[in-house]
Amino acid sequence: MKTFKIGGIHPPERKLTESSAIEVMPVPAELVISMNQHLGKPAKPLVKMGEQVKKGQLIGEADGFISANVHASTSGKVKGVKPHPHPGGQYAMAVFITPDGKDEWAEGLDTEPADWRSFSQEEIIAKVKDAGIVGMGGAGFPTNVKLSPPPDKSIDTIILNGAECEPFLTADHRLMVESPAKVVAGLEIISSLFKGEAKAWIGIESNKQDAIDALKKHASPKGIEVVSLKTKYPQGAEKQLINAITGRTIGQGELPFDKGCLVQNIGTAVAVYEAVCLNRPLIERVVTVSGMEISSRKNVLARIGTSFKDIAGFCGDISEKTNQVICGGPMMGKALFTLDAPVVKTTSGLLFINNSAVEKSRERTCIRCGKCVDVCPQSLEPWLLANTAQLRKFDEILDLGLMNCTECGSCTFVCPSKRELVHWIKYAKVLVNNRQKRKSA
């Protein structure tokens, strides 16, 4: 079975929700739609307090090349535009909408299914851009930008990322099982942008056999190859997935298209299909609600802007023992400081956990066991990076490959001394960037 060559770990999978069908969550009493749901500049809010909006109406306009549109996820009245906690941990401008209960689509949206073959490449990319589609795996890179690589780069490999290697998360898994046709259609649309010259793959970890079977049935007749991958974290990271499927290595400072590759998330492929064929902007996504401390664990189809408090209410009781609520997966997610934060386009999961490690965590000294070096998928020396960061040797740390770290967290996971290796590396990255900014200023 294929997998990436260097490093990797196998954390407990805990896919508790892998067989629960996606449930549609009703529109809550209030929606908070963040203007910062993607990489790059936040969108510019287009609406004011008191305005009526329709479902799918553009309420935030992409500000610049790397930015994305934001749409109202139901019809209703704008209650205000003000900063609000973002699931990423910071504050971001957000549009508050009080739904009117009619859930009316704006004009020209949600049309009868059209054949994507009738659209030109430019039309497809324009539709993806208008629909505000971003990478739904976590980084939130605007998809239209990713789909238009520089003309001198030729793409020969398109990979759909169904690895979902994070523990707990099953959002992509359920999408693959329940709507394989949409996934495949989305992939076909993406492939058509590269004149059909590129070979399309779907990479799925072997712990999702039902998804592999479902997709094989739909994909094989279209010449798309479904690859079963050995379950290993971080297989879902772009660089590792490319390495696992094609054997190519993305080096320092290189992007996937430098090696002829393009990777898209399962959710993104479905969003692309819906945007191109059904004229639906990205206003809802599947969120895995899981963790040991919530009574009923579900895969929920929630509107963008639904607050985590409402989602928790929809899924049942939270036990008293909860001490952390994680947005995203437990390896690369963020711990929330408030449940007021809303679902954004990149929210793949919401986990209610009792992290006993965080209570008694005390960083101990490195005992030089070398486990972090063994598991690092980027062949770095995490212990050395962390030590150098602690000593604030920011000139030296760049030479140790600081910027090559993908922050997958494997090193921190295995460290017997419970050192916050990734956090130190992230700290160094921030301070190095600050210094460079100050120098250039």
Partner: protein, 330 residues
Amino acid sequence: MESVKLKVSYAPFVRSSDSIESVMYNVALALAPATVMSVYLFGMYALVLNVVAILSCIGFEWLMDKARKKPASCLDGSALVTGLLLALNVPANLPLWMIVVGSFIAIAATKHVFGGLGYNIFNPALVARVFLLISFPAAMTSWPVPAPFSLGLNVDMQTAASPLGILKTDGLEALGSFTLMDGFYGTMNGSLGETSAIALLAGAAWLLYKRYITLTIPLTLIGSVFLFTGIFFLIDPGTYASPLFHMVTGGLIIGAFFMATDMVTSPISMRGQLIFGLGCGLLTAIIRLWGGYPEGVSFAILIMNGFVPLLDRWDQNDQKAKYQKKSEKA
């Protein structure tokens, strides 16, 4: 739900169950067969030695933490392992005060002066053993003859030289009735824990299974001793002992699996570990064949411990070369 108090930390939020404690206690567990074997072979006094060594190591660890105003680390298991290893590396009739002195050297003078666990350059138990060997050569080289099931606290056991000692002073013929099986089971003269190869190998298998050690260092170390002594055995079987004799005698097995693999004092990368194991093996063989001491494992490992920072620096420079070149190109 309102009563839930959220705590924020940085990803990842799941951690492996490994900890310093689990590593150390598993090493201690892996040493258990050898410890039991030592009590079986040398009597209850061996148990007393073990207990005194462990308690004094933990005591000195506690004192040093207090003196250095550091959080208490005396129960993290590292002092336990040091004490156990030290006791297993001394003869079964060593006076108790000597083992306490050894514990002090191991914990205070080898570990804490460099900054405590993780910062020591040399293996604490080995430094203590070598310190005792040089300071009290008579007490450290009068090996009691094993007397299985002698449960008394009998310190005045019959003593004799170890097989390696006999080989060094009296030559190959003097070894007489010694068979390889004696070394394998442990019914030979030697330190408490080093005599029984089978008990040590059982412990090592546990550590390998739990993946706390890898085979790189033990295999290269034992392999290079085997090769080196084998070459000389082939040249002159009349003077040199067979490589198999060198495998089972002295502290080779305990050294290769438990001392050289100490995480703190061994290199991190595979390449470093290969060179480290090779160096340990060659030095051991050289000392055993031509050195002034009959046994060379402790010295060999300590000498190679000194090279570890250099070996690590080599990897770091490689890393730097790799990324500097890349960033210049970019």
